[in-house]
Subunit: 224 residues, 2 copies
DNA sequence: CGGCGGCTTGATCGGTCTCAAGTACGGTGG
DNA sequence: CCACCGTACTTGAGACCGATCAAGCCGCCG
């Protein structure tokens, strides 16, 4: 391993005691920017706008997505508290970003982040790790899109249960339409599939956005 | 841009003057490793094997892919001369890699690359750029997978024509099965769709792996 | 010439989309 | 507190696209 751990050396500048354990690019960014509130469905940035800022979710949730000319929407990722997004290779954004629910987002000038990476090897490494992790996620997402509807939904539920750190019960922040556009399905197919999983006692749906995983092994079986 | 205009330079070892202008992580890597030949369909590495090396295609072509338990295969990317692959966040590979045709690949110890990035800001930046570019590609690939069969094939042809730097005529290195697994279609659908595009005079197929783009605007119309 | 692998073509099947109602829920105003 | 509304979600019937199953074809090499 090389990404993390080994952060225990002196960070760099004049900083005295760093937090005793691991801390990431996320913390660095947090120190450089301002927390801004965004309303539900508020646009954070649009595709092909200048990518002058980098973002980190503090509370709430964010979707990044691309549109095709006829209006089809592909959601690339959901970003939950702690996640960084909006960091681009080129000078314009390749996705749009919107708040899924009311959210607070830390906004940092990208030039600051890049400059910090130039000065500090440690920041540079974490910068790369962040992007590499996002790449890995994107590849898993691609794999998802070749599966059947049931498999996609199962994979999605497992991913969310992992990321929301919920043992048995999830409260999803996103709508069925968001889920559908993430999974490359229609809203009807998502709904039907959830109903179907409920019928099989694999999950329960106490509310439309609340999901209880009753049978993880069954979901895992569908996952791969 | 940063990938390429590719291979006209001296292959590796005793190189003196570096290209006068910009040169990438690719060149750096080239200086650190050894060129190894791989036979068609030869395994370069397997999923979940230790990721101790980083690779760069000199000649030939490489596919990286993931398998589902039931044998379905998703090709994540095709790597052509000049491309880097196999660089991972964790300590094991998340994809398998195989040579599509007889290929020569530069192999470098990953620890060398990472150490170079620690020492040299410039290498660190190029390391990040490489990964960020791959991320962008992966996101485009995801977008592809929500399209219709015709649109996927059209997008694929345009991508390949771009990357192979062929004006009107492409010689594809990969089989129909490879294309199918990249596009999330079956081999039959790929074949039918190509035939169909030929019928519409959008392309011509002088040989099964040679494709002439007769009507780029029509392809572009399908592309988005 | 025969055989084999890669590709094409055809006929049918099935999963997901589409179109169309119907239902539950949350918020707002009476 | 309830009636109303709009939005989100569910459910149903039918169509369609791509998968599947099954031959055939072509080029290449023995």
């Amino acid at each position: 391993m090389f990404t993390m751990t080994k952060m225990e050396q002196v960070p760099a500048q004049g900083r005295r005691l760093p937090p005793p354990n691991f801390h990431s690019l996320l913390d660095t960014i947090e120190l450089m920017g301002a927390a801004i509130p965004f309303a539900r469905n508020g646009e954070i940035y649009g595709e092909s706008e200048p990518a002058d800022y980098v973002y980190k979710v503090l509370t709430g949730a964010v979707r990044t997505y691309k549109l095709l000319s006829d209006g089809r929407r592909q959601i690339d990722a959901f970003h939950l508290p702690g996640d960084i997004f909006g960091l681009e290779l080129g000078d314009t954004h390749t996705c749009s970003a919107e708040a899924i629910s009311d959210s607070t987002i830390v906004v940092v000038k990208r030039s600051l982040v890049m400059a910090a990476a130039e000065r500090n090897t440690d920041v540079a490494r974490r910068l790369w790790s962040t992007t590499a992790a996002e790449l890995q996620r994107a590849q898993q997402h691609t794999l998802l899109l070749i599966k059947s509807a049931q498999e996609r939904v199962a994979t999605f539920l497992l991913e969310m249960s992992e990321r929301l750190c919920a043992e048995g019960s999830l409260e999803l922040p996103m709508s069925r339409q968001d889920i559908a556009d993430y999974l490359g399905l229609t809203i009807e197919t998502v709904s039907r599939t959830l109903t179907q999983l409920q019928g099989a006692a694999t999950i329960a749906l106490p509310g439309s956005r609340r999901i209880v995983l009753r049978n993880r092994p069954a979901l895992n079986r569908l996952n791969d």
